[in-house]
């Protein structure tokens, strides 16, 4: 039986690209998102039972547990890996950001990812077999960006979570890594205007924004057996912007 992987936030953008890439590579995928997008419907149609999807609010820990339990029941095995991709952003100067928005970003991006990882690990650790946890972080977590303080906090938290967890579960052969993409032209970077994006491109040695296809092969590699000795790391893919 092929291995299966949990991917959160599959309705669009990077999460959808990761799910599609992994399915094409032979993994089965359990995806979740808040909305049943046309992209998700296309995955369901193309891959049938190899792709299972459940509406899940990453702000609802019980829903996250139910999604993992349902996916394990569907594939009748613990997952090989988890890709914590689901995320949201809130832009604005901190002093004017509503606290409710800040709490929501931290819950969805950070607590939700931790809850999803916890739920999956509870089944993975019982088998005493290797596995993979991959957190989709951001260079804003290490470098920051004006107007993205809460988002940056959630991503820095994700990196710290991964470093600590890698020590905790390393003995089981479970690796935990972060991927920190540079700025991408996806819905999440909608808060950046064209002028800001142009400025980012000018400061990037490789002279362009980050593409989905820059990230998906790295996810696939970190899931592979060849990446078994890489853990506790944050791998930056930003065209040299932060070099």
């Amino acid at each position: 039986m092929s291995q299966w992987v949990i991917v959160s936030g599959v309705s669009r953008g990077l999460g959808h690209a990761i799910a599609l890439d992994l399915l094409a590579a032979g993994y089965d995928v359990a995806g979740c998102s808040t909305t049943l997008s046309d992209e998700v419907k296309a995955l369901q149609s193309e891959f049938g039972p190899r792709f299972v999807w459940q509406a899940t609010d990453m702000g609802d820990n019980d829903a996250i547990d139910a999604f993992v339990a349902g996916s394990i029941a569907h594939f009748d095995a613990p997952p090989w890996g988890v890709v914590n991709n689901a995320g949201m952003s809130v832009e604005g100067i901190l002093s004017t950001l509503p606290l409710a928005d800040i709490e929501r970003v931290l819950q969805v991006n950070l607590t939700g990812a931790i809850a999803l990882t916890r739920a999956a690990l509870r089944r993975m650790m019982r088998t005493r077999k290797p596995g993979r946890i991959i957190n989709i972080s951001s260079i804003t977590g290490s470098r920051g960006y004006t107007g993205l303080s809460a988002y940056a906090a959630s991503k820095a938290g994700m990196d710290g979570f991964g470093r600590a967890l890698s020590r905790e579960v390393g003995r089981l052969g479970i690796t935990v890594n972060s991927i920190a993409p540079g700025y991408m032209k996806t819905a999440l970077s909608a808060g950046l205007d064209d002028k800001q994006l142009d400025q980012i491109v000018r400061r990037t040695p490789l002279n362009r924004l980050c593409e989905l296809s820059d990230i998906t092969p790295l996810v696939r590699f970190l899931l592979s057996d060849e990446a078994a000795f890489i853990t506790g790391q944050t791998l930056t893919v930003d065209g040299g912007l932060t070099s």
């Binding site: 509870r122 089944r123 650790m125 019982r126 005493r128 003995r171 089981l172």
Partner: protein, 80 residues
């Protein structure tokens, strides 16, 4: 929940990690005692027991326990 389940799952964990299997009684100390297990093994034991019984004695917070019998008693208490 009977103490037998704690003993069974604990023995399984020792077997899985190729550790010496010793006799486990209710008084057997779990960590830093006669068993070759660490905190990760203990977490695995707790998760396994939670999954097997559907009970979650630590849902509202961690409760200190030292022996196999004390762990079993926490599950018995959670069962009401």
């Amino acid at each position: 929940m009977s103490f037998d389940l704690v003993r069974t799952e604990l023995t399984q964990i020792l077997t899985d990690k190729s550790a010496p299997v010793v006799e486990i009684t209710p008084d057997t100390v779990l960590l830093n005692g006669p068993l070759d297990i660490d905190s990760l093994d203990l977490a695995t034991l707790v998760v396994t027991l939670e999954e097997a019984t559907g009970l979650q004695p630590f849902r509202e917070g961690f409760v200190l326990f030292h022996t196999a019998g004390e762990l079993g008693a926490l599950f018995t208490k959670a069962a009401g």
